[in-house]
Subunit: 374 residues, 2 copies
């Protein structure tokens, strides 16, 4: 749990304007250096825009994974999702990067759908959370994962893969540790208190399933760090390799707040938003533009504080396009309405393709279930 006078970041809440450097410091994670990024790019033989544009910006133990890549040793990817609602673009950003890692380093992704958590921590009926797990998985698959690349774990249905590991994890964690780490109290239900052991257990699962040491690299939002800090604390004691993490910043809300929110639809673009809704949301987005078209032409805008520009950074890989928008905004050549229309076109094209692939995923989702492979 990180709390500051100006912002709060926990696995359940992101509030205020996050100072990412300060947050990394508070959590005790390392900032990603230029050298780190170059090393990954060299090993990958490729560059990813979320890495070179600083979306992924902090880590724990990345050097371990880099060393294993260099030595040709086994490792795996792990990330997940609390399936409580339809997906928006903020959710899938780290997954797009994770797909790139899968492809470039020929490793498998273990993906945990924590339907139990959403029932225990939120007020969502278990059946609804479970339905979202399947729904969200379609979008994940639509990002292009092949069945042999992605192992889907749905907590309430695949618990037998995790429970033996979870009891060992649980024995290392006192109620006091859990309460302190996650901000729980004696009024918290015992299921919410136990749940972190499952999220931690997936980090050790590849080592069990592969029957050889296989540390995981976890690309995730930095709000998930409390789980993985605990996992690293106890790994040695349990004879597992420490999990490594790679943390990304949040995609800002269209309205200008720090993070998109599933509970306020206007802050985010949803995978299932129709074109007109996407258009309206983007047109209403917070920008760095001047109050009038004339002032914009004269003074130029400020892309550095502009949500629309941030979306180009996040969802448009081509550096030439993004660079041109930055310069044209600064110079006053580009006015906000035009810029928003360009973003709209990029986003709807992306969403149309994604939804088409989502439909195709319905027939093959069973091939991604961990139970069809291990």
């Amino acid at each position: 749990m990180a709390q500051d006078q100006t912002f709060t970041v926990t696995p359940w809440e992101v509030k205020g304007r996050v100072d990412y450097r300060k947050l990394a410091e508070q959590f005790g994670v390392k900032l990603l250096t230029e050298e780190d990024i170059k090393k990954i790019e060299k090993l990958a033989g490729d560059s990813h825009h979320l890495l070179r544009r600083g979306f992924f910006y902090a880590h724990r133990g990345l050097e371990t994974i880099i060393e294993r890549i260099e030595k040709g040793q086994r490792w795996a990817l792990y990330t997940g999702r609390g399936p409580s609602a339809d997906l928006h673009l903020g959710h899938i950003l780290p997954w797009m990067f994770t797909k790139w890692l899968c492809d470039r380093f020929n490793v498998e992704l273990f993906f945990e759908m924590t339907d139990d958590e959403k029932f225990l921590v939120r007020d969502l009926p278990l059946e609804v959370a479970n339905r979202y797990a399947y729904d969200n998985a379609l979008t994940l698959i639509a990002l292009g994962f092949r069945p042999e690349q992605l192992h889907l774990i749905i907590d309430t249905e695949d618990i037998h893969y995790l429970y033996k590991i979870a009891v060992k994890v649980a024995k290392c964690l006192t109620l006091s540790t859990i309460k302190h780490t996650f901000g729980f109290t004696d009024s918290t239900n015992v299921g919410a208190a136990f749940f972190p052991t499952l999220q931690i257990s997936v980090a050790f699962l590849p080592t069990e399933l592969y029957r050889e040491e296989a540390p995981v690299l976890i690309p995730a939002g930095i709000d998930q760090d409390p789980y993985f800090r605990l996992a690293r604390d106890i790994a040695d004691r349990l004879g597992y390799p420490k999990p490594c993490t790679l943390y990304c910043k949040f995609v800002p809300a269209l309205t200008g707040e720090e993070k998109m929110s599933a509970s306020r639809p206007e802050t985010a673009i949803y995978v299932n938003d129709d074109d007109e809704t996407v258009r309206r949301k983007i047109m209403n987005a917070f920008t760095g533009g001047q109050p009038t078209k004339e002032l914009q032409r004269k003074l130029g805008g400020n892309p550095d504080i502009c949500v629309v520009y941030r979306y180009f950074m996040a969802y448009v890989p081509d550096d030439n396009i993004v660079k041109k928008i930055y310069e044209d905004c600064r110079s006053g050549n580009l006015i906000c309405g035009e810029c928003k229309r360009m973003l709209y076109e990029h986003i709807v094209r992306f969403l149309h393709e994604l939804r088409e692939k989502r439909e195709k995923a319905r027939d093959i989702i069973h091939k991604y279930r961990i139970s069809s492979k291990f």
Copy 2:
């Protein structure tokens, strides 16, 4: 948790001389009446010595089960074992009565082996607790259960039958409730705190698996009451029928303390004790006899405080035999050495038969696993 100045009874500890009437009062359970016993005997068309001799002595909600038997409605039996060691005669006593209920009322028994609990609460390696689960199951089966009568649940292996129910149970139980009910503190590990949700979940499993309302009757030691009191508290909220319980007293230790203890081998007769060991333990047992043979002949003994007599009560169903021993002891006709030899013969005959059936159970244990049936 029940604590008194003279005794303590919790799921993990029985200390001091238990006042069963006071214990029932402290736990808030009802005492079994003569009328209750007659009703069960009438419905069963048979009498069981553990019932008529007062070993089973208290209950919660027995009237519900009696009513369902009368109406021909569905119900099930549920009991279990924390597999932390070899079994002794004290462990199997309630199971013998449970087998009788299975047969007389044509109901199925759900039996939970809590290997996870023994790892989380005791210092037993998980693999060892799991091995004991299989070993203990052989003895259970040897009591004569047919595969269609007995559904064996091993927590770490059959967790997927329980977890969906467990998260619903867990959501109803705060850390505060768990701590207070089981005497846990913030230093308790989170797995031990979560475990009660699993023991409670089995009480609701028959209703899920049968897809119709099926309350359970739980024959168990009264020390298990805290779990089932909580289960009854939350059943309504979850839409499950309240579980009913039937509690038995402990079989006293051979050495005269209140309860046999797996950690002190001399207090109990183990299923695997060889004849010579059984003989030695019985010969050293605490009795109600006089200091010398001559005084015994002259004054008679006191079977009411005699552990050997208590064993006859527990393990010899024939009332004529037990009655004769009582009278011959009182009159001084029977001296302790002779009485012990008679008990020895009853016990070793029972153990030989049991062990023979245990060996046969090895080949068919898979037929009892819940996963082979549901």
